[in-house]
């Protein structure tokens, strides 16, 4: 068999493998750019960058693409929005508000909604994308923490992510406040109250931000600058840093055959991920556009312009500010009076102290965990949530804590929709915010430990086949088969025992606080089986399989013993 070599590029070391002659237009352009910007090396590096594949790695991408949608739709909105509190008389197309005095901000929001072509759609797309931006950041954070992707060397990226969450929330709140409708005005009024509740400096902060007494003429233009310039620039910079660190650290991966702490098994950016990412961007844009087209969001024309004399039932912030609002709603009305001044603990604690403290806790989680475990190794392989029971339980407890306040933020809606008393809901939640997380912690930890035991069971005795075997003696048992090797390998990659050094002791020989925490962290943690245990179990299984082999392959049709059976009637009553 001869080979036709005429179509193979001639390359014997002297010429380049590329066909000689004039380069294509695209090639020429690429060469021009490479000679001046050096993009060749960078794009080669990025295009061959390997990423592992898993659905949960794409949650952060939802946030990234929602942010792009926010930038695009936000630019559109700034073309028509007038960030001014100058009072004008509305004369636009929405009849029920015609002739009403309102700020230019509100009037231009109504114009965007009713007189600018596609304006209402894009306003709603912008607002839905904002909701999804923060929601997807949160589920991305859950994924990272539950799988242990926050461990060394990724702590800084966790801090950046937590900062993005805080900035995203502030960005959302400033955007929510811009239209100057009844809802956003109520929100600003509430924010003014929150600031004033800060002891000593509160009033000064409020006057500084509002340029005098609430509401003044400055707050909307100031929030506008913060919303379209300051926070977006910070978000953009931090998202850039987040992604650069992601590339620098390399993406974490699930354990499996061939996957180690030193490599990344997956597909390259080009062509795999570039197409997947582009596709997901269009899907995200499509979903936000569909939401914007089908679901109403913040119908400002129904709220009408803000006026400090008005308020509406169902005045809530957007969901991401809902939990401090809930804390405020269920807080007992504690106030102190010293030297003629009022100290509003009932506002200061739930809205200022609690969110800042919660954010600090989230920020410090990786460091707290590393301090407790004493783990100083790098981790690039992910952990299943069950294999870190205390960590998983801690985060679930935090989630329950958050959800309880969330529910409190909607207590009035819950009351009217489920025919409950708003007071009873409040009393219940006052207890539940403390007891709920404790219960969630205990249940989740035990659940994880049970799952660890189940994993060991599967490793030692194989998986349940669903085939029930009856031995000649009449005993029944289920047939187990060994796990596929790949799966068993992935399950046994995890560390054995405690990560850090042996806990240090105090001088008097008693364990330190840190040592006690470490003991608690690893308490009841189930280790994977040892090699001896595994081989013993496999030996046992082989023996059993050998014994059962004789009975293997016999179909049971229910009539196997028909010939041997004798009915009770034939038997004599007494012998």
């Amino acid at each position: 068999m001869s080979t036709d070599t005429s179509k193979v590029a001639a390359s014997n070391g002297t010429d380049a493998a590329a066909p000689a002659g004039k380069p294509t237009k695209a090639g020429a352009a690429a060469n021009w750019a490479d000679e001046r910007l050096g993009v060749g090396g960078l794009s080669k590096f990025l295009s061959r960058k390997i990423f592992p594949d898993h659905w949960s790695f794409m949650l952060g991408e939802i946030a990234l693409w929602s942010f792009v949608v926010l930038l695009v739709t936000g630019v559109f909105l700034t073309l028509w929005f007038k960030p001014s509190m100058a009072e004008i008389t509305y004369q636009g197309s929405y009849a029920p508000l015609r002739g009403i005095d309102m700020s230019e901000a509100m009037a231009s929001t109504l114009d965007i909604s009713f007189d600018v072509r596609g304006g209402l759609l894009l306003r709603q797309v912008h607002h839905w994308a904002a909701s999804l931006f923060i929601a997807s950041m949160m589920i991305h954070m859950m994924r990272v923490f539950f799988t242990g992707a926050h461990r060394k060397p990724r702590e800084i990226n966790w801090v950046i992510g937590a900062t993005l969450l805080l900035l995203g929330t502030l960005e959302g709140f400033t955007g929510y406040s811009l239209p100057d409708d009844l809802l956003s005005g109520t929100g600003i009024r509430a924010a003014d109250g929150f600031m004033m509740a800060i002891p000593i400096v509160g009033t000064y902060i409020s006057f500084f931000l509002f340029g005098g007494e609430f509401p003044g003429d400055d707050i909307i233009p100031r929030l506008f600058t913060i919303h379209v310039l300051l926070i977006p620039a910070l978000l953009l910079a931090l998202i850039g840093a987040h992604l650069i660190l992601l590339i620098y650290h390399k993406h974490t991966q699930w354990p499996g055959p061939g996957r180690t702490e030193k490599n990344v098994v997956g597909y390259p950016m080009v062509p795999n991920y570039i197409s997947k990412m582009t596709g997901f961007f269009f899907i995200t844009f499509g979903v936000t556009a569909l939401l914007g087209a089908l679901f109403s969001l913040n119908p400002v024309w129904k709220y009408g312009p803000y006026d400090p004399t008005k308020v509406t039932a169902g005045s809530q912030p957007d969901w991401y500010m809902g939990w401090p609002d809930g804390a405020l709603r269920i807080m007992p009305g504690w106030e102190s009076h010293f030297w003629g001044s009022t100290w509003s603990w009932n506002i200061f604690f739930p809205v200022i102290v609690l969110p800042m403290a919660a954010w600090m806790v989230v920020l410090l989680l990786p460091f707290i965990e590393a301090w407790i475990t004493g783990d100083k190794r790098e981790h690039h392989l992910l952990q299943r949530p069950r294999n870190a029971p205390t960590r998983t339980a801690t985060f679930v407890a935090l989630m329950v804590f958050y959800a309880a306040f969330w529910a409190a933020g909607g207590n009035d809606i819950i009351a009217i929709k489920f025919d409950l008393s708003i007071n009873q809901i409040t009393y219940f939640l006052r207890a539940f915010v403390f007891l709920g997380p404790i219960a969630a912690f205990i249940i989740t930890r035990r659940w994880c430990i049970s799952l660890q035991r189940h994993d060991n069971e599967k490793l030692l005795h194989g998986y349940e086949t669903g085939t029930v075997i009856r031995t000649p003696e009449g005993a029944y048992h289920e047939k187990h088969l060994p796990l596929p090797e790949g799966e068993a390998f992935a399950m046994t990659v995890r560390d054995r025992g405690r990560a850090g050094d042996e806990p240090e002791l105090k001088k008097n020989g008693k364990p330190t606080f840190r040592a006690k925490l470490r003991a608690f962290y690893y308490d009841h943690d189930v280790d994977k089986p040892t090699a001896e245990e595994l081989s013993a179990a496999h030996h046992h299984a082989e023996h059993e399989a050998h014994e059962l082999a004789a009975h293997e392959g016999h179909q049971v049709d229910g009539h196997d013993f028909d010939d041997h059976r004798h009915s009770a009637i034939e038997e004599p009553l007494s012998k």
Partner: protein, 293 residues
């Protein structure tokens, strides 16, 4: 009304014919005369006699259906430990009866935080009779005339539009704090609620403002004038007719349900897509079909 407008539009094609003006005048005169004859108040004596009969009929209904709680003479009943079993109805006026019985709140199924709205137990004639009886116990607000609350009774479209704009501002100042910005309702302490007014009859909205049922304030005519009350009703009615410009209104309850939509529908779809995208890939641990084991 929209139907009427349409027929007027169809008429307009014939409006310029020479006899049209005369014909319209004739029809108008005849119908006005006929309507006057049908609805004109009868002589004073006759009205009084009718009213006495109505009060008597109302008293009979009252004795059977209401007196258990409100007392045989509508004076109210106080329990032995000093609590109110049923309040006195002296001076509550016909409007109160028309509202409470006409919306099915009375007779009450059971005492509780909130008197539930049900299917009315009486027809309008019976309600009128009971209203007349209660009105006879002491002076109180009367049932409003149709033109006092009917948003269709404005002279022109422009007048109505102005009333809607005015009513909207009064509504947002006085009503939304409890009933929510769309009128979808809100919570009150201890299991009570400011009910949704989205399905409430304009007459009953007027009467509620006038009499202040349950936790609601009484908006007397000195507080919100009759014209302003009508404007509020016009706004509420116009909101019912208004399409939801932004799409599905999520129950018109504000940011709570919007947040639920974002999390469940928006994020739900996107996570489903993420799973779908990740599932469509070549796998490193997948064996080729047909290849040897």
């Amino acid at each position: 009304m929209r139907l009427l407008n349409r027929s007027v539009g169809r008429l307009s094609r014939h409006r310029r014919r020479p006899l049209a003006g005369a014909a319209v005048l004739l029809v108008a005169l005849l119908s006005t005369g006929g309507l006057y004859a049908a609805f004109s108040p009868a002589s004073q004596a006759e009205t009084e006699k009718d009213n006495a009969a109505l009060v008597a009929e109302g008293k009979e209904l009252f004795m059977i259906n209401c007196s258990t709680c409100h007392g045989s003479n509508g004076e109210g009943i106080t329990t032995q430990n000093g609590k109110l079993f049923g309040p006195s109805l002296i001076g509550v006026g016909a409007a109160s009866v028309d509202f409470q019985v006409g919306t099915g709140r009375m007779p009450m199924a059971q005492p509780g935080a909130q008197v539930e709205v049900k299917e009315p137990s009486f027809n309008q004639d019976e309600i009128d009779a009971m209203a007349a009886y209660v009105a006879s116990l002491g002076p109180g607000p009367a049932v409003p005339d149709k033109e006092q609350y009917d948003p269709e009774s404005y002279g022109s479209e422009k007048e109505k539009e102005e009333a809607v704009a005015l009513g909207g501002q009064i509504f947002l100042t006085n009503c939304t704090a409890c009933h929510n910005f769309t009128g979808a309702g809100g919570a009150m302490p201890r299991g009570g609620e400011a009910p949704s007014i989205l399905n409430t009859d304009p007459k009953h909205i007027y009467e509620a403002m006038l009499t202040g049922p349950q936790s609601m304030d009484t908006f007397s005519d000195g507080n919100i004038s009759p014209e302003e009350k009508k404007a509020v009703i016009s706004y509420v009615e116009s909101m019912k007719e208004q399409p939801d410009y932004g799409g599905f209104n999520n129950g018109a309850l504000g940011p709570v349900t919007e947040g639920i939509v974002a999390w469940v529908i928006g994020l739900g779809i996107l996570v489903a897509f993420a799973t779908w995208i990740a599932a469509h890939t070549t796998r490193t641990n997948q064996t080729k079909k047909g290849s040897a084991k």
